[in-house]
């Protein structure tokens, strides 16, 4: 937990440096290529793709596939485009990420700073959650959702994702708070701050980096989830991923590859955005100077 330093790179010779850059560029290209092709083909008319030239630059530039994917493409039986499902995803992702992160932070806080008998065992059990495959929880989860009367709804999906993500977020925050100086908590106790006040005023403001990690992790996982969405959502609560699948695999009419590409990029955009916006906070150490050193 110290300030990220930029001067710890080993100084290297010119040739080595050129080699390193070459490799980096090579790998970056390798990873960016599929995405590039997707972008290229999403701005072509369908005829250019079916004409057989997927790799070439578009001869006619058009944003039509994007609008279509968003507004009017056939998803299942309705020609709604991905738009409503995009909102469904957002309505699911925001509460789920927020709740699981806050609860994970609270768990980590309690497990490290308000130790109680059996806390390590409890934490060990919570860690199991990180290793349980999705498929195993499907049936019990369906029972629980039915019992609670929120099956097939967005709140139901939020619950599923919160429960499934809690193991991870707890792990992150516990490990982060483990090295958080306990003397700070003691000082705050003497100053008269209670359990939640300490959490809110002392712990959370110093948790920037780990909050970012938790949010990125949870956002990516929940946004990209297909299995839970496909299993537990009704038509009016289906997330983007399920809709994308329906778009691509709808069997009626011609396959509009350009629309499919645009839809796939649309579905991937939010996670991309989260990485770009939050990624730089990843490394920022907010704890500098709380204690000596």
């Amino acid at each position: 937990m110290s300030v990220a330093s930029t001067d710890n790179a080993i100084s290297t010779g010119r040739i080595t440096r050129a080699f390193i850059y070459l490799m980096l560029i090579l790998f970056a290209t390798f990873y960016l290529l599929p995405f590039g092709i997707m972008v290229l083909n999403s701005v072509k008319p369908l005829s250019e793709i079916t004409g057989g030239n997927m790799m070439s630059l578009p001869q006619v530039f058009t944003l039509e596939p994007w609008f279509k994917a968003w507004n009017s493409a056939q998803i299942g039986v309705e020609p709604t485009g991905l738009k409503p499902y995009f909102w469904n995803s957002l309505k699911m992702v925001f509460p789920a990420v927020t709740i699981s992160t806050v609860l994970g932070a609270l768990n980590g806080y309690v497990l490290t700073k308000w130790r109680f008998k059996g806390d390590t065992i409890l934490f060990g059990l919570m860690l199991f959650a990180c290793f349980i495959p999705f498929q195993i929880v499907l049936i019990p989860m369906a029972r629980v959702l039915g019992f609670l009367g929120i099956a097939g709804s967005t709140p139901g999906l939020v619950l599923v994702h919160v429960v499934y993500g809690l193991g991870f977020t707890t792990l992150y925050f516990r490990n982060y708070y483990q090295v958080f100086p306990t003397e700070l908590i003691r000082a705050a106790q003497i100053d008269g701050a209670g359990f939640f006040r300490i959490f809110w005023r002392i712990m959370l403001p110093s948790s920037g980096p780990i909050i970012v990690v938790s949010v990125i992790w949870q956002f990516t996982n929940i946004w990209n989830d297909f299995l839970f969405g496909a299993s537990f959502a009704d038509l009016d609560s289906q997330p983007m991923t399920v809709a994308l699948n329906n778009l691509v695999s709808s069997s009626t009419g011609v396959k509009e590859y350009n629309v499919h590409f645009a839809g796939a990029i649309l579905a991937a955009l939010p996670t991309l955005l989260v990485y770009i916006v939050a990624g730089r906070y990843f490394v920022r150490g907010l704890m500098a100077g709380s204690v000596k050193g």
Partner: protein, 371 residues
């Protein structure tokens, strides 16, 4: 009635007892230092006073009120931690006023208290900074400011200077002492540095292994250590502890021991106690502080009885203000403090003057002072 009363307090973690029946009374305005080696339970005792650790048995009372089970924030104490424990997300000003805010003090009053304290500690220019932007000494000041602003009944310090470099430590030591003289607040201060303990305290509790070994003024502790542990722990360089045999005859009571020249010398006790007479022909440990062994010219003229012996110098260590001279006494290395310009050379036989007023006999089996 004492201001802070620790009555028969013990602390156990499970089956391990880390503090045994601690009894300490602190009067209002006293500066009590808890000193002892690492792991002796100083911090634990301090945390019990603060309410951060619960008391296994016994009581701790402040101003006549039992504090067992009372929340730390309700004890009207303030604490300065070894790591300073400044809230990293708050500015210096916010750090200082956080406690007042939590206690519901109105903003104008908070601001006033903050500026008074900042004035006193000369940290006004730092109020807007974050702890990460401060030097070690400045952080230390801010931590003190945070404690001072509360105007507590008792200040608790847990090794507040141990993270500072040597020079700053001495400066801050003086500053804390000045502050205590000015404010007259009751202070309990933990350190493992015996010089800090001597210079700051009005009374010292020397602790070891969860027991208070001795409680007394710095002078009592230094001049009349209750046992071998206190004798060796307090003082720098530490007290010479050499085995000797007690010999009583018509002329008085003597400690008989060999010098480095392998002849026996008899050192006459100035004021032998009755108890010491009972040790006739028995082995004791004789404690003599380095400054009680000098060159004859440098000996204390007011001393009742000075023994002069000749001994061989093993090594000399000039320390600027004094020269420390090592010789062998009773089969052990014996440190003597001579004037800086005393003419001594390693390998020579030179006269040593031993101030027997300051010689303290210990019982080697019980390790207690013979008194």
């Amino acid at each position: 009635m004492s201001f802070l009363k620790i009555n028969n307090a013990t602390k156990s973690y499970g089956s391990t007892k880390v503090l045994h029946n601690i009894d300490i009374d602190v009067q209002e305005g006293e500066f009590l230092v808890l000193v002892g080696p690492s792991g002796c339970g100083k911090s634990t005792l301090l945390n019990m006073i603060a309410g951060l650790e619960d008391i296994t048995s016994g009581t701790i009372a402040i101003k006549g009120q039992t504090m067992n089970g009372v929340h730390p924030s309700k004890r009207n104490i303030a604490m300065v931690f070894q790591s300073y424990a400044l809230y990293p997300n708050m500015t210096v000003g916010q750090n200082i006023t956080f406690g007042l805010e939590m206690h519901g003090v109105a903003k104008p009053a908070r601001e006033k208290a903050m500026s008074d304290v900042a004035e006193m500690l000369q940290i006004k220019p730092l109020l807007g900074r974050k702890p990460g932007q401060l030097s070690g000494g400045q952080r230390q000041r801010v931590a003190m400011g945070r404690a001072l602003v509360r105007d507590p009944d008792v200040f608790l310090f847990d090794e507040p200077l141990s993270n500072l470099d040597a020079k700053l430590r001495v400066d801050m030591r003086t500053e804390i002492k000045k502050l205590h003289q000015k404010l007259g607040t009751t202070i309990v201060y933990v350190t493992h540095d015996q010089i800090e303990a001597m210079t700051l305290s009005t009374r010292i509790a020397v602790m070891n292994g969860g027991y208070v070994q001795q409680l007394g003024t710095p002078k009592e502790i230094y001049d009349n250590p209750a046992n071998l542990f206190v004798a060796s722990f307090m003082g720098s360089p530490s007290m010479n502890l050499v085995p000797a045999k007690v010999v009583a005859n018509g002329d008085g009571i003597f400690a008989q021991l060999p010098t480095g020249l392998s002849d026996q010398v008899n050192l006459k006790f100035s004021n032998p106690t009755e108890a010491l007479k009972g040790f006739d022909q028995k082995e004791i440990v004789l404690g003599i502080r380095p400054e009680a062994i000098t060159d004859p010219e440098g000996a204390d003229r007011k001393a009742n009885h000075i023994e002069q012996i000749t001994n061989r110098v093993i090594v000399t260590e000039p320390a600027g203000s004094d020269t420390y001279v090592m010789s062998s006494l009773g089969g052990k290395d014996c440190n003597a403090r001579m004037r800086a310009d005393a003419q001594v050379v390693a390998g020579q036989d030179v006269p040593f003057a031993i101030n027997m007023d300051k010689a303290i006999p210990f019982d080697p089996s019980s390790e207690m002072r013979i008194a």
